[in-house]
Structures are given as C-alpha cells and as structure tokens.
C-alpha cells in the first residue's frame, strides 16, 4: 500500500516516472516491426528539464556566470587584491599622490606614496584612482563594496524567503483562520510606507545592531538584512500562498492524505518541493532589489557604517566630484547596473526554465 502511494505521488510530482527504451513500448507495437529500433528514449527528470531549458537561454547563462564571477571577485579577489596592492580599502593616501595638484582625487592608474614606519614613501598603485578627497583606493573599495552588497542582498533574500515561504505555505495549505491572519498581515505590511519605515528602522534599530558582524560581515549588514528581511517577506508569502493553494488540490496530495500522511509531512515532502522553482526565481529578483535598496539607504547615509565601503556610499560620495571626476560615479553605477541586470536576467531565465509550458 505504501509503495503504491509513493509511486502515485512520485508520478504526480513528475520525479520518478522513467521510461526506458523498448521496455516502454506496448508489446503489440514492438511486434509490428522487430527491425525498427527507436533508440534509447530517456525521459528527463524535472531538474534536468529545467537545466536544459535554462541552457538554451544564453542571456540567463551569462547572468549566472557574471554572478559566480562576482562572488569569486568579491570574496576571494578583494583580499587578494588588497594583499598584492599592499594597502586596505579604508586607508587614506593623503601624504603623496592620493590627491592631484588641484587637491582632487587622483585619476585611474596612479602611483601613490604610503608613509612607512621609517618615514619613507612606498609607491603603491591605485588602479581606478582615489575615491574622494580622502584618497582611498577606489578599486579596492569597489571590490569590498561588492562583498557588502552581496552579503546584504543574499542575507535579506534568504531571510525574506524563509519567512515568506513558511507564511505562504501555511496560509495556502491550511486556509481558514491561518490564511486570513497571514493574508491580513501581508496586506498590513504591504500598506506600510516601505521606504520611510525602513529609514526609521535603520536609524533606530540600526544604531544597536550595527556592531553585530559575526566576525565576517561588514558593520551595518546585519541591520540591513533584518530590516529588508522583515519587511520584504510579503511578496514571497503571496506567491507561495498561491502556489500552495493550487498544490493542496492536486491528486498526489490527496493520495498522500489518503495513505495517512500528516499535514506536516505533506507540507514538507509534497508542497515545499513545488515551491523551490518559484522560490529560486524570486530569490534572484529579490537579491537585485535588495542590493539596490542597500545602495539607496547607504546613499541616504542610513545604510552601511562608515568607513566600510558599499556601492551605495561610493555613489553617495561621488556627486561631489561630478564635474571634475565623473568616473567616480561611473564605477559603482556600472557595478550596480551589471549586477542587478545579471540577477534579473538569471531570474527571468529561471522563471522560463521552471515553466515547462513556456514557449522558449
């Protein structure tokens, strides 16, 4: 009985219905032409199908590759670059070379002097020049800024999706008072003036949480992750609720219920696996949105704590030099643009890939 139930569920899930070559052909058809060899027709699993569809989407793949490279560059490349260049992202180079003759930030590919303990000047390279009149290395700050952006983007996404998917699954699966309560809570959260609320929270809660770094995060990252996560879960909750509502009526769920599976087991084993696709799509889109939100808050001076670099505070400093050093706006601007574009392209590609009925 339990084998039957499992195979029924599995079939409906599209996970384990594997037909192999001739064994799949009806016996009478096989008898018609013994010489006709249809070859090995292998039905594809769900994830294999997703991957095949995604592989056809070159833009999405390019986005994915960019994201992987970005992670590698931010988390491995930044410390390596700092090591080889011989200085950190927060170190001002005001003694020699960090500012030009007009006291403006040095331009790209400038050699600057670092004052050593012996009072000598050691030549070091600023690849993208100085970040401001504080004469810090723009290139390193951009790399370390990527770390912060990704930490905030990924952290806030994980938290919001965790909260959203649990709330959405519970609301959609149980319906009734649970659905009503969670749905109204979602409505309430959506009705809040999001940005103002985030600014208020960042300005109050932030002062207490900015020091929490767990030894590896930037100062202020935890605050932003909590603020974005706690206020950004509603969208994923809505999506998950609608998916859960449709899944709870499926035959395999009925079959599972028929064989005595508990609600918890049904949610864990049958509902959640179906949420993975939409969750991944939402995640990619949310990461991009949270990275932009971080930049926005840091631009307003409420995000990442100074002197930690983030793309937002690099952008915030840049307008002071927009006539004399316009490239200072370009670097973090392009980094933000490419990153959000990459995440969005990947998200779009994944959405299509997870939809077997999609045209592509």
């Amino acid at each position: 009985m339990s084998n039957l139930a499992d195979s029924a569920e599995a079939a409906a899930n599209g996970q384990a219905v594997i037909l192999r070559g001739r064994a799949a052909l009806p016996p009478e058809d096989a008898a018609v032409d013994d010489d006709f060899d249809v070859g090995a027709v292998e039905a594809r699993g769900y994830w294999e199908g997703v991957w095949l569809r995604l592989r056809r989407d070159k833009l999405a793949l390019a986005g994915g590759v960019f994201i992987v490279l970005l992670f590698v560059t931010a988390f491995a490349g930044a410390p390596l670059a700092s090591h080889f260049l011989g200085h950190g992202p927060n170190e001002p180079f005001l003694v020699s070379g960090g500012l030009d003759a007009d006291q403006l930030p040095a331009g790209p590919w400038t050699h600057v002097g670092k004052l050593t303990e012996n009072g000598e000047l050691e030549q070091q390279l600023f690849v993208l020049g100085s970040d401001s009149t504080l004469a810090r290395d723009e290139f390193l700050r951009l790399l370390y800024g990527a770390q912060v952006s990704l930490e905030v983007g990924v952290g806030a996404t994980l938290l919001s999706l965790l909260l959203g998917s649990i709330a959405g699954a519970v609301a959609g699966f149980y319906r009734g008072w649970a659905d009503t309560t969670i749905s109204r809570l979602v409505d309430l959260t959506m009705a809040f003036p999001y940005l103002l609320f985030v600014i208020t929270l960042a300005g109050t809660l932030g002062t207490r949480l900015n020091h929490v770094t767990f030894g590896f995060l930037g100062e202020g990252v935890v605050t932003l992750v909590l603020v974005f996560g706690l206020l950004g879960w509603f969208y994923s909750a809505r999506v998950m609720r609608s998916v859960a509502l449709s899944i709870r009526e499926k035959e395999f769920v009925e079959a599972a219920r028929m064989v005595g599976a508990s609600n918890r087991r049904i949610i864990r084993s049958h509902v959640f696996p179906h949420l993975v696709g939409p969750l991944i799509v939402l995640a990619t889109l949310n990461v991009a949105a949270f990275i932009l939100a971080e930049a926005g808050l840091s631009f307003l001076g409420l995000g990442i704590q100074l002197p930690t670099a983030s793309w937002g505070n690099l952008l915030a400093d840049a307008p002071q030099y927009y006539t004399s050093r316009p490239l200072l706006m370009v670097w973090p601007g392009v980094a933000l643009l490419l990153t959000t574009l990459a995440f969005n392209l990947l998200g779009d590609g994944l959405r299509d890939a997870f939809d077997p009925r999609g045209s592509r």
Partner: protein, 547 residues
C-alpha cells in the same frame, strides 16, 4: 544781458554734460525691491530670538533684530565696533563699572506696529533667563545681577535689569569689559510683549521683530521667509522686499542654483572641489564680485568629552589625539581656501592669540610614533563614539579623524547627525552620548571670553543646554578663566594667552584643527555685497540687492 544769457546756456550745457558723464561712469545702482533667494543645506535650530544659536540663524536675525548695541553694516574695522542702535548713545556707567544706564531712542517699531521700549529689552532678558526656555546661551547672562537666580528657577525675573520710562538699567555682578559686545548678540534683541508671554522651549516660529525685516513664515525643514518690516525707521538698509530661504538642497544643487541664478547665495556652501574653479572663473574678493573669502574668528575642533570614561582624567590620551589628527588632510577635505591649520584654542586675530606650536600641523612618521607613545596604556578599551554633521564635507572629515584615531588604537564609531541636532544634543548632558564630536565655533563677538569661558568653563556643564561640548571642568582653569574675564586691555590678552597655552599643553580639552574662512558664492543677479564677519557670516542680507 546777452552775455548773461550765454553764460546761463553754457552753464546749463556743462551741468547737463556733467550729469550725463556721471550717469555713464556710475556703476550699477542698488535696486530696491525684489526677492533675494538663499539656499541652506540643513534647517536652522530655531528662529526664536532667545533660543537660536546657529550661525545660519544669526545671519537672518542680523536683519530682523533691533538691539541696544549693534555692529554697523560696514566692512572692516568700521564694522567691528559695537555701536548704539536702539540706545540713543553710549550708556552711562557707574564708577564701579557695575551699573549701565541706557536711554532708548524713540521711533523704533516692531513689524506689528507696537513701539520698542525699554521694557522690550527687559522682556528679552527675562525670557532668555527663563528656565522653561532652556536657552543654550544662558552663559552670556552670568554677569547680570539676578540672572543666575532666574536661570535656576529661584526668581521669576532678572532683578538686575529694570525699565523706567525710556531708561533701561542693567546691573552687573562684576565689572565686565565685554557687556556692550554681548548686548549686540541676538539673544538680547528687543522683543514685543506678545513674544514675551510665549514661553516655549521648542521656540516660536513667527513673531514681530523690530529690525529692517521680520520672519513672515517658517516651515521647518523647508523654508523661511523674511519680509521688510513696514514700520522700520531705524536707518539701516533694507534693499530687497523679501528674503527667501530654501532649505534642504545638497551643496551640489546649491552650487547649480547659484550658477544659474535661481538662487543668489549658497549659504550652505558649495562642493569643496568647486572653490578653486570658481575663484579662477570669477576672481576673488572683487568689489561686488561673486566669490568673496574672508578670515573669520572661528575654529573647527574635535571636542573630547571629559565626562565619559575614555577622556575623564586622561590627559595623555587627549594629547595623543592632538598628535594623531591630520590637520592638513582635514583642511584638504574642505577644498581651496578652506582655512588655516591650528593647534590651539584662540584663533588668530583674537585678543590673546599667541602662536604656541604645541602640536604638529602636519603628520609625519614621527608624529604618529609620538601619538602612539602617548596613547599607550591610556586607551581604556579603545572604543569611542564620534559625532559629526552629516552635511557637506563633514562625513569625509569624520572618516579622516576615525582613521587617525585608529592609528593610535581607538576604534571610533561615526554617528552622523543633522548639524543643529548635533550641537543641540552635544550641549545637553542628557543626550551627550559621544566621546568626541567634530565641532565648529564662530565668535559671537571679538573677545576671548567667547571662546574660553563660553566653551570651556566647567560651571556650564550641568546646565540643561551649554556649549562646553568637551564637558571640561577643571577647578584650576575655571578659576583662571573667571579671573581673566575681569581683566582689561593687554593684561586680559596675556591672561587668556597663558590659559590657551597651559590648557593645550597639559590637559587639552580639544584637538583644534582649522581656523576656517568664510567662503561666499553669490549669483550674478546680486550686488551691494557688504561683509561684516563680526555681525554675521556671509553677506549682510539686508544690504544685498538685486542689480
């Protein structure tokens, strides 16, 4: 007869020619009327005369207030002498120097039509001293008899200030050489009876005033409008009909607005990097020119909070900070003609200023070594909260200080605040949760009392609002400051110079950084530029005119 006629014709022609020549060679004449527009980056603290203590507000109050004594609307030495305004002349002073009697000049009226009387000044002092007002400036009342009792809530009014008819008598607790200069501060301006009754620590945003202008409206955080006082007959210039202040634009926007002529004065400054360009483009300090730079009696400094564990009885660390701060780099953040580096309390030009050369004005490997040596063993955990303004170059300057502190082992957390909030909270013992704050002080009047006693006398630190942001309270220095304030002439200068040197050498309350210049950028629409740094920073707004 014919000869006389010819002579008349010749005279008429020559007179006409002279008139034409004069008209042709005259510069653009002041145009009365129109609206002068100012941009400010952040809002003022208050516009209430007994509460406002922000340079930007005083800039406006220089046009709205009428005072017993005032600074003439003139440049240079002529503008630096406190001169009777509503007082009909200099006061009669008693032999012991403790009683001043002023006679009030008739004719001054508030914008609501009421006359300015001797009582208007009594009301101002009483409102100023009222503890419910919580004014930051009450330290300036210390010499007036009965003021402290009123400030402490022990008396309903200040017993030493009395009006009888058109006579105003001010009794002092001690002979004070700087009383007349103090009376030129906006705190002491005449107030009308309605305002006298309005006691509100949050300040009043609309009131009648007796200067050439009055505050017609204020929308906090957005705008302030000044209109010409229709009843003003005091003789000061009032060129524009309206002075409109727009608040909240960034320095970049202010710069663009003034360049385009949609605003006339970037009161909040312009991007630091633009000063060099505009000096090259428009020239410097030309008559009625667009770019004006003046030295001012001012100081930018890091106040070290001596009431908190990090700096309490820790002079070695305070000295280390003075050795560590990069004054040159701090100044560089402000851009071209920002100011002059300093390591002492009194600014050049102030009585008592004597170059002491105690701390380095340029960082070298040796200065950092010296700073580390002084800090060693005195870090007390090495954590600090550093307050700074969030406007203009202040965040960059704060990050620089943060980096300098890190070099001696202090891990400073920066907290950026709107400027008015920064100094208001810093001056309130209940809200002063900082270890260091990057501050700026501009002289209220040209006397060392205004720097030493006002900023560092420990008697202040228990007041609900004060300016001793270092919470510096050393009995020896308190006594010496009081003694110096009673001296006159060169002795006064010598005493204050000694105080400056001794304090900075043995127990520095601050890390002084720069004596900054007043850099002014004006639109092409305006002329009649008169600057009196003693009266207010920037051009005198009542004199400024549209071309």
């Amino acid at each position: 007869m014919k000869g006389k006629r010819l002579l008349g014709i010749a005279l008429a022609i020559s007179s006409l020619s002279l008139l034409l020549v004069a008209a042709a060679t005259a510069g653009p004449t002041a145009k009365r009327g129109g609206t002068i527009v100012l941009d400010m980056t952040t809002d003022v603290d208050y516009i209430d005369p007994q509460l406002s203590y922000y340079g930007e507000t005083w800039k406006l109050e220089a046009t709205t207030a009428c005072k017993l004594m005032n600074w003439p609307d003139k440049e240079g030495p002529a503008g630096a002498v406190a001169t009777p305004e509503v007082a009909s002349g200099l006061p009669l002073v008693s032999k012991d120097g403790k009683t001043y009697t002023f006679t009030i000049k008739p004719g001054f009226k508030f914008s609501n039509g009421k006359a300015v009387t001797a009582q208007s000044f009594v009301d101002a002092v009483n409102r100023f001293a009222n503890p419910k007002m919580q004014s930051t400036g009450v330290a300036f009342l210390d010499i007036i008899k009965g003021a402290q009792a009123a400030v402490d809530g022990k008396a309903g009014s200040v017993s030493g200030v009395k009006a009888r008819g058109n006579k105003l008598t001010i009794q002092l607790t001690k002979a004070s050489p700087d009383l007349l200069a103090r009376l030129a501060m906006p705190f002491y301006q005449a107030i009308d009876p309605t305002l006298a009754r309005q006691i509100d620590a949050n300040g009043i945003n609309q009131y009648a005033s007796c200067g050439p202008y009055y505050f017609a409206s204020r929308t906090p955080g957005r705008s302030i409008t000044l209109k010409r006082n229709p009843n003003y007959k005091g003789g000061r210039t009032a060129n524009a009909d309206t002075i409109q202040v727009n608040i909240g634009n960034s320095v970049d926007v202010e710069f663009q607005n003034v360049e385009k002529g949609t605003s006339d004065y970037a009161s909040g400054g312009i991007p630091a990097t633009e000063w060099k360009n505009i000096v090259a483009k428009y020239g410097l300090n030309k008559k009625d020119g667009r770019v004006q730079v003046r030295p001012q009696l001012d100081i930018r400094y890091v106040a070290m909070n001596h009431s908190r564990p990090l700096f309490k009885n820790n002079p070695q660390l305070a000295k280390a900070v003075n050795w560590a701060v990069d004054r040159q780099a701090f100044s560089a953040q402000g851009g071209y003609l920002y100011g002059k580096r300093t390591g002492q309390i009194l600014p050049p030009g102030m009585l008592g200023y004597k170059p002491a050369g105690i701390y380095p004005l340029k960082v070298t490997a040796n200065t950092i070594k010296q700073a580390r040596k002084l800090a060693e063993g005195n870090l007390r955990g090495g954590k600090a909260v550093l307050w700074s303004s969030n406007a203009g170059t202040a965040p960059l300057q704060a990050q620089l200080i943060q980096y300098n502190l890190k070099q001696i082992g202090i891990d400073a957390e920066i907290k950026l605040l709107p400027r008015a909030q920064q100094f208001t909270n810093a001056g309130n013992p209940q809200t002063a949760s900082f270890d260091m704050t990057v501050e700026r002080w501009g002289a209220d009047y040209a006397d060392p009392y205004d720097f030493m006693n006002i900023l560092l006398d420990g008697k202040q630190v228990t007041q609900p609002q004060h300016n001793n942001y270092a919470y510096f309270n050393v009995a020896k220095y308190n006594k010496e400051m009081t003694a110096a304030s009673l001296l006159q002439g060169p002795k006064r200068g010598v005493a204050y110079a000694a105080l400056d040197g001794n304090m900075m050498r043995s127990n520095p309350p601050w890390a002084p950084l720069v004596n900054s210049n007043d850099r002014i950028f004006l639109s092409s629409r305006v002329g009649c530029v008169t600057i009196n740094e003693i009266s207010a920073t920037g051009p005198l707004l009542n004199v400024l005119c549209l071309k």
